[in-house]
């Protein structure tokens, strides 16, 4: 393999030359796209105002959306529109199509590769559409505006003793932003990705038509919009399946080996032995399989049938084992100290008394979300990931873990299974679900802890590249699927599939205005 380095015109900025060893064979797309040049902006702005759409052009309003949760992609919109209703969104897209003005949609803005950052044009803030429209406790469905945060939805559902099926752990991603990208939760191994709970959507197409779609009605649009990364329409409302709220009972099993823990996780998932399952690690030293149950019966059945087959230790046993391990390796005492500190900080947070009653955890989504932000959140977050079939997962995680070890003293791996729904195969095409996955797909996020040092953007980029390269090498996919890492999409899926989707995109969005930089 050789590194192809395109010629650079004098006076222009060439492709970012970081980490050549990580870039073998990759067409470089990992930097921010060029800013849209602003042609027709004034006419477009006047047209919006004429139609009564509020457009904010002041610096403070635009600056508020200059980056996403990743904090490594920066862009400035020409103006910000707060979504208020579906008709307004449709008017906006019609005008944008007519004046060829790019529109970037932001929900929670919790992407980490700049997917929800506007590089010029309009930033459409969907959180303005955050009302729950109807809860049907008999049909067990909710109809909600799509800008709502999962947590706000949970608050409303809880007043009727209901809950959503699954959502990202961060709680402040939006329903629309999640249905468009997938969404994984610690119950995804049983219930599928968050997007799978959508029964019907109201979508504004890139040309400004308002369309209702579902598996049976405008099914083709439904297929493309679910897991469609905002390419084929803006989700303005969604009908979701819901369930009865249950507090849960949680158990942790500790492993020293990633491979053993993953095998046991897959055993649990295949047999639906628990209601929630996942792996959270401190480095690769404390590998923590967590399982949880919606009822005492499920917990008891697990303890009787499955616990004896798991190779993980309890907290005390693992403590002893770890002590013995480090006492024989005194040069690794720094690592041991870190593990201890981390455990001391993190575990009380997961067991805060106001959320625990008689060993049962109430509002697990709040507990997890607080911990996620407190222990993993920061102004810069790089969380590259790999999504593979069950069979390839151990190797992918091991290789990704070696990359983490190389780049960072401290990091966490978060691993979950995602049950695939055969009838949703069409949704999964060219998405975070790898094409060769059957039954379950598995995802691993590789999250460095930034607290210990200051890292350059180039360093972080090199780290991500090395993780993403594993995906190319293994024929996997990625949960974080577009934005600055979109160059990898062609590499993993091949030109034919990507070009077919591009043709669909061009047909649906003739001026290529909607989220134009995210995938293509």
């Amino acid at each position: 393999m050789h590194l192809h380095s395109p010629a650079v015109e004098p006076g222009t900025v060439g492709p970012c030359p970081v980490a050549p060893d990580a870039l073998q064979g990759i067409k470089r797309q990992q930097t921010n796209p060029a800013r849209w040049n602003g042609s027709n902006w004034n006419e477009f702005a006047a047209a919006l105002r004429q139609q009564g759409i509020e457009l904010r052009e002041n610096a403070a309003a635009r600056a508020a959306f200059a980056t996403d949760a990743g904090g490594t992609a920066y862009g400035l919109a020409h103006g910000v529109v707060i979504a208020r209703n579906t008709e307004q969104v449709a008017l906006l897209l019609r005008a944008a199509q007519a004046y060829r003005v790019p529109v970037t949609v932001s929900g929670g803005g919790l992407t980490t590769e700049g997917e929800s950052v506007a590089f010029g044009g309009v930033l459409l803030d969907m959180t303005g559409m955050s009302r729950v429209l109807a809860i049907d406790a008999e049909a067990m469905t909710v109809r909600t505006e799509a800008g709502i945060f999962w947590h706000s939805l949970a608050e409303e559902l809880r007043r009727q003793d209901l809950d959503y099926l699954s959502a990202p752990l961060n709680l402040t991603s939006s329903v629309g932003g999640t249905l468009g990208v997938g969404g994984i939760d610690v119950n995804s191994a049983r219930l599928g990705c968050s997007a799978d709970q959508a029964l019907a959507l109201q979508v504004v197409t890139p040309t400004g038509d308002i369309v209702e779609c579902s598996d049976t009605h405008n099914a083709e649009l439904f297929e493309r919009v679910i897991l469609g990364y905002g390419q084929f329409g803006i989700i303005t409302a969604a009908t979701l399946r819901v369930r009865r709220y249950t507090p849960l009972r949680m158990h942790y099993f500790y492993y020293a080996s990633l491979a053993t823990a993953i095998e046991d996780l897959q055993l649990i998932d295949r047999n639906e032995a628990s209601d929630y399952s996942g792996i959270l690690t401190i480095l690769d030293c404390a590998v923590n399989v967590l399982v949880a149950f919606d009822s005492l019966e499920r917990e008891a059945a697990f303890m009787a049938e499955w616990r004896p087959r798991l190779r993980g230790y309890g907290e005390f046993g693992f403590g002893l084992r770890t002590f013995a391990h480090y006492i024989l390796r005194p040069w690794k005492l720094g690592e041991a100290w870190y593990l201890l500190q981390r455990k001391r900080e993190l575990f009380p947070e997961l067991r805060r008394p106001e959320y625990m009653r008689d060993g049962t955890m109430f509002d697990r989504s709040v507990v997890f979300s607080r911990a996620v932000w407190k222990f993993w959140g920061s102004r810069q977050m790089v969380i590259p990931d790999l999504a593979t079939s069950a069979g390839k997962f151990v190797e992918a995680v091991k290789r990704g873990n070696a990359v983490c070890r190389k780049y960072f003293p401290h990091y966490t791996l978060y691993l979950v299974g995602i049950k695939l729904r055969p009838e949703h195969r069409a949704h999964y095409e060219m998405s975070c679900v790898p094409p060769d996955a059957e039954g379950w797909a598995y995802g691993c996020e590789f999250e460095p802890m930034m607290d210990a040092g200051v890292y350059s953007r180039d360093y972080l980029q090199s780290f991500k590249n090395e993780i993403y390269d594993i995906g190319v090498d293994m024929g996997a996919s990625y949960y974080r699927f577009g934005g600055m890492m979109k160059g990898y999409i062609r590499r993993v899926f091949g030109d034919a599939l990507v070009d077919r989707h591009l043709a669909l995109k061009r047909a649906a969005d003739p001026a290529m205005i909607l989220n134009r930089h995210v995938i293509f």
């Binding site: 600056a63 929670g108 303005g128 409303e156 402040t172 106001e354 509002d363 102004r379 977050m381």
Partner: protein
């Protein structure tokens, strides 16, 4: 001249630490009412991170109700209330504040009221003073756990100046604080004042009226399972880590429901922006009250604060009582 907001609330972390997690939006009454991101701590933080000055985000800064619900949820531990007050200080004072602030400079008497001899002092604030019968009941109840003096100077002007980000004359502050030095327990109705008094009077235990009353066995036993207990948001969030456990044990003991969300943050009832507090904008508590009551089967609303009582009474969904009204001690409170 003393800048109270600055001296007592020097923020260890400022807006530059904001990671953009959005958690503050989930609890913010201004967000719930407007769904306008620019009017939230996150919106302000991002604007400031990218070079905005206080004047560029003035409407956002003034819209904050200082309910402090955002502060305990902020994973970056940004002192969001202090930051908002800091920004308010950088804005021109509203004309409506001018008289009050001038009065604090010129009319502040150098001689303070005599030191309070009682171990416990109640600073009732204007809303409770306006309802003398309720005030009498509050005092009568508090007397049950020891002599409780009424602070003649309850710092109402200081509380308002704090709210507006105004500067407070040192002499005025001295006059207010001097009688309180050495008092063991200070019960403060105004949650914002309470927050600021804690570091200024480190030797005193400073708690809200709600905590003081709900700690009494007679009051606790008068709570019913179908009551909705409305915690006063400002006092609660000022001492959140301690009070979240306190109210959790009250829930376990009394069995009633609370205006707490899933994050155990108190949903503010009468939440007022600065212009609303100064009477420059109409008050609309409807959104918050509807949200508190939505889906709850409640037969009585029990409030800690008089402002919340007035708001719920106006809303008129079900009977509203102040904590002090729960126990019949022979005084009338209507």
């Amino acid at each position: 001249m003393l800048d109270l907001a600055k001296s007592t609330l020097r923020a260890p972390r400022d807006y530059s630490a904001c990671s953009g997690c959005n958690l503050c939006l989930l609890v913010c009454p201004v967000w719930r009412r407007t769904h306008d991101f620019s009017l939230t701590p996150h919106g302000r933080a991002k604007a400031l991170q990218f070079g905005a000055a206080a004047g560029d985000i003035a409407a956002s800064v003034q819209s904050c109700t200082l309910c402090a619900a955002c502060e305990p949820v902020c994973p970056e531990e940004i002192r969001l209330v202090a930051m908002t007050l800091d920004l308010r200080r950088q804005l021109p004072q509203p004309a409506a504040m001018a008289d009050l602030l001038a009065g604090m400079q010129t009319r502040a008497s150098p001689s303070a009221a005599p030191a309070l001899s009682s171990a416990t002092v109640l600073l009732p604030g204007p809303a409770l003073r306006d309802r003398p019968s309720t005030l009498a009941r509050v005092r009568a109840l508090l007397q049950r756990s020891g002599a409780t003096a009424l602070g003649a100077d309850d710092g109402a002007d200081i509380a308002l100046a704090l709210e507006a980000g105004g500067e407070i004359a040192q002499r005025r502050l001295d006059r207010f604080l001097r009688p309180l030095h050495g008092v063991k327990k200070i019960i403060v109705a105004d949650g914002l004042l309470l927050r600021h008094l804690q570091p200024l009077l480190p030797g005193s235990k400073i708690i809200g009226v709600g905590e003081a009353l709900s700690g009494l066995a007679a009051v606790r036993s008068a709570l019913r399972a179908k009551d909705l207990y409305v915690i006063e948001a400002r006092a609660y969030h000022a001492d959140y880590q301690r009070l979240v456990r306190y109210y959790d044990s009250l829930r376990a003991a009394a069995g009633c429901s609370f205006n707490l969300d899933l994050q155990r943050i108190a949903i503010p009832a009468a939440a007022r922006s600065l212009p609303q507090r100064l009477g420059l904008e109409a008050v609309d508590d409807g959104v918050q009250l509807r949200w508190i009551l939505q889906g709850r089967k409640v037969t009585r609303i029990v409030v800690e604060s008089m402002e919340d009582r007035a708001a719920f009474e106006q809303y008129g969904e079900c009977p509203v009582v102040h904590l002090a009204d729960l126990v019949d001690d022979g005084t009338s409170s209507v």
